[in-house]
């Protein structure tokens, strides 16, 4: 008995019996974990004025802004604005073998239809299943009716370039394209993760649907840690590939794109989603004004540990430029 007591003393973060079910608020606070209430009250509300949300809630506007800033975004093939336009859908798509249809106001990957190719007049999804022209048209009219948009308001459908992810990224994803999420405060990159699909998540990159969250070191752009359903893993559950130590291609460019996104939107606290195309390189996919909290699980670091130094830095050295911000983040949050 006395032995176990001693060992508990020796290791301060000893697994307690209740850790199977919960963590106490005290423990979470000690690790700097940010909850939804704190994210909203302390970081979203004061830093993200309501009027700026429209810039990022509509992907058309975000893309336009990004192009003005010289950022690379997936090429837009066409925009379907009304049910009448759906008649032209066929001719619009005839030239393309691979494309993505997404709602301009969708969030969290809702309503995104990825087509990888054509075969016998059918469209082929990444999973290999077939989609008829009728079904594609139906999907578009659902988007137009606002089925996937925030608040159910009428929407427009975007048809754009299907990103061909860099080889190193497709390897660690089971179907579906992995994307990189960066969370920023006042333009300082705070935390990054790679979201990779699994068989369970069905090609989607949503962590709560079983996708992998892989933490990325801000300095090196190398993956450091991975979680599946909140639990640390080291290998992909489907492909068995090693997930730790993978170098993101063009990491410095990725950081620059993210910081530029912050500058162009003016949002204080935001998440930037990017994909790395094997030919074009990093592409900005979307900007999220309400980034989730799973990123801290993927990195094994409480967000507060990084948000607080940035808050301090921002008040002490306001108006730093892009290089200075990236330099600060790399220096402060980089791992050895």
């Amino acid at each position: 008995m006395s032995d176990s007591v001693d060992s508990a003393k020796a290791k301060p973060v000893y697994q307690k019996w209740w850790h199977r079910w919960i963590r106490t608020p005290k423990e979470l606070r000690a690790m700097g974990v940010v909850g939804i209430n704190m994210r909203n009250a302390r970081f979203l509300l004061p830093n993200n004025p309501r009027r700026l949300y429209t810039l990022v809630d509509n992907k058309l506007r975000t893309k336009k802004l990004a192009e003005e800033q010289g950022l690379s975004v997936p090429e837009t093939y066409g925009v379907i604005r009304s049910p009448y336009d759906t008649r032209n859908l066929e001719s619009l798509l005839s030239k393309r073998s691979a494309f993505v249809i997404k709602p301009a106001r969708g969030s969290g990957g809702k309503g995104v239809l990825v087509i990888d190719g054509k075969e016998d007049g059918y469209y082929i999804k990444p999973s290999g299943s077939r989609f008829s022209g009728d079904e594609v048209r139906h999907h578009v009219s659902n988007i137009l009716a606002g089925l996937f948009s925030l608040g159910g308001q009428r929407d427009v459908a975007l048809i754009e370039y299907r990103v061909r992810p860099a080889r190193i990224l497709t390897d660690i994803s089971y179907q579906g394209a992995p994307d990189i999420r960066l969370v920023m405060l006042h333009g300082y990159p705070v935390m990054a993760m790679l979201r990779a699909a699994t068989r369970e998540s069905d090609g989607r990159a949503n962590l709560h649907q079983g996708a992998l969250g892989i933490g990325i070191d801000i300095r090196s752009g190398r993956t450091v840690r991975a979680v599946h359903h909140g639990k640390p893993v080291t290998h992909h559950p489907d492909t068995g590939l090693e997930l730790i130590g993978i170098q993101m291609p063009d990491w410095d460019r990725i950081l620059e794109i993210a910081v530029t996104c912050q500058e162009m939107t003016g949002l204080g606290y935001l998440g930037v989603d990017l994909m790395v195309d094997q030919e074009i390189g990093p592409l900005m996919i979307e900007v999220n004004a309400r980034p989730g909290l799973a990123i801290q699980m993927a990195n094994g670091v409480g967000l507060l540990r990084r948000l607080e130094p940035v808050e301090k830095r921002h008040t002490l050295h306001p108006g730093e430029d892009l290089e200075q911000k990236i330099e600060f983040s790399k220096r402060t949050f980089g791992r050895d």
Partner: protein, 512 residues
């Protein structure tokens, strides 16, 4: 941190305003703060009994006039008698009349008045001319003795009040003077038990103070089973007003919590023609006032009276409206503190309101069946590739038919409750089905079931909260307490701690 102070100020102001109004209402206006705790009132019942002698009967009972208006609650109980109340110069008389009657008769008159009312013995100005004392025709040694007492008393006391005190002190004195013994002996022959009062009145008259008999009722709940006779009191004129005092406690003003003056003005308390042996007795009971009778609030300032200022029929509308904030509060609590996912923010409140109208268990079963059946139809419809709005409309039609069919079916089986399920707001169900099927497709069935389950759970919690009768009572009779609820919501709005669900979510969180 100025916004923090703003919040603290707003919360404090809301709590003070809400609490203050509620406090004012409960202490000053007498609206009980706790449900079931109601205001007490006295119920005094006068019972007139006599022996009818086979002639037309007419009974007149003088009624308490002072401080009692019609709304204070009077009722007469008397089978087969013609009854009316006669008002004459501020004095009211109940008059019962009937054709031939025989044997014992009993007539009742009930008066209710709230605890702590005036005794009814306070000073009132005389009606008509200023009354003048009529000297009693006392002669011989009794008259001599009386005049001696009056002369002595007048030497030490000047006004009517002090004369009243002096006389009744001497009358009730355990060791009376020789003159008083003489007078007493003479009066007792004639008036028996009423002798002391008669002596006092005659002595006052001799001293130039008009005085007469009044009758009161002892307000003593302990004697509720036994009837009491009228309590004789003395009413005298102090030069400006008539006042009633108890000769047994001449120095005190009548205490409204102990004595209620039933009759004053000098006329007869009871007058029965066509009957013999007439007498009146009183029964006193402490009773409860039903809240609905608390009419004071109707005339209060608009801020205080609120719902109670409305006619009863319009109040009913608010029965449910005041519950909506309670439901909203539960939703805020469950979402921001506990972290239960729900389908839409305030859908649980609407569901809870619907549950209030029906038995909960069967209501929830019905809801589950309707949603499940609707969901199945919705998936059938999705094969038709319909546009969104027509699809929701189709859903509404299907749900309507389902509801009708289930009602008919359960009626056949003999389960009556299904009829009440009709009150389930259809749009809520159709909308739930639509949202649920979307989440089902987009995020998987687990997510869909979690969210609908969460909504139902929150709805049931909100429902149980709304069902606590004390809370409903506060919301309805003290709507200003909703300001305190608002303060609570404001505080939760600034809560930045972890949600309980996050303690589970981050349970495997480890630092590297």
């Amino acid at each position: 941190m100025s916004s923090r102070w703003k919040l603290v100020t707003a919360v404090l102001m809301l709590v003070l305003l809400g609490g203050g109004l509620a406090f004012y209402k409960s202490t000053k206006l007498g609206v009980p703060f706790w449900e079931g705790q109601r205001v007490d009132e006295w119920l005094v019942e006068a019972r007139v009994s006599f022996l009818a002698v086979g002639k037309p009967v007419k009974a007149r009972l003088s009624l308490p006039a002072n401080g009692l208006d019609e709304s204070a609650g009077q009722e007469a109980g008397s089978l087969g008698y013609h009854y009316h109340v006669d008002h004459d110069r501020g004095e009211s008389t109940a008059i019962w009349s009937s054709e031939m009657r025989e044997n014992g008769q009993a007539l009742y008159f009930r008066v209710r008045f709230p605890l702590g009312s005036e005794s009814g013995g306070g000073p009132i100005p005389p009606t008509g001319s200023i009354p003048v004392a009529e000297a009693p025709g006392l002669s011989g040694s009794v008259g001599e003795a009386a005049r001696n007492i009056v002369a002595r008393s007048k030497a030490i006391s000047s006004d009517a009040d002090s004369l009243f005190v002096t006389f009744f002190r001497q009358i009730e004195n355990a060791a009376p003077s020789q003159e008083m013994v003489l007078i007493n002996r003479a009066y007792e022959k004639e008036y028996h038990d009423d002798a002391p009062i008669k002596i006092g009145i005659d002595l006052l008259a001799l001293a130039g103070v008009p005085a007469r008999v009044a009758y009161g009722v002892k307000l003593d709940d302990r004697e509720r089973e036994t009837a009491q006779g009228p309590l004789p009191l003395v009413e005298y004129f102090d030069g400006a007003n008539w006042k009633v005092r108890d000769p047994l406690a001449p120095t005190d003003v009548l205490d409204g919590s102990k004595v209620f003056v039933w009759h004053r003005g000098g006329g007869p308390l009871l007058d029965v023609t066509g009957g013999e042996n007439s007498r009146v007795s009183f029964t006193v009971v402490k009773d409860r006032i039903p809240l609905a009778r608390l009419t004071d609030l109707q005339n209060s300032p608009i801020l205080v009276s609120t719902i109670l200022g409305l006619p009863a029929s319009e109040r009913a509308v608010f029965r449910y409206i005041v519950l909506i904030p309670l439901g909203a509060f539960v939703v805020v609590l469950m979402r921001n503190i506990v972290g239960i996912p729900t389908l839409g923010t305030f859908m649980p409140v609407l569901l809870a309101l619907a549950l209030l109208e029906m038995p909960v268990g069967p209501g929830l079963v019905m809801f589950a069946i309707l949603v499940a059946a609707g969901l199945w139809c919705r998936f059938l419809l999705s094969r038709l590739n319909l546009l969104v709005v027509p699809r929701v409309a189709a859903c509404v039609v299907i749900v309507t038919l389902l509801m009708m069919y289930m009602t008919v079916l359960s009626h056949r089986i003999g389960v009556g409750i299904a009829v009440e399920i009709m009150l389930f707001p259809m749009i809520i169900i159709a909308w739930t089905i639509e949202r649920m099927s979307l989440i089902w497709e987009e995020e998987g069935k687990r997510s869909a079931i979690t969210q609908v389950g969460g909504s139902v759970l929150v709805a049931v919690l909100a429902y149980s909260f709304m069902c606590v009768s004390q809370i409903r009572y506060w919301a309805f009779y003290f709507p200003e307490t909703l300001l305190i609820l608002l303060a609570g919501i404001l505080i939760i709005g600034r809560y930045t701690g972890y949600r309980i669900s996050e303690l589970f979510r981050f349970r495997s969180f480890t630092e590297d």
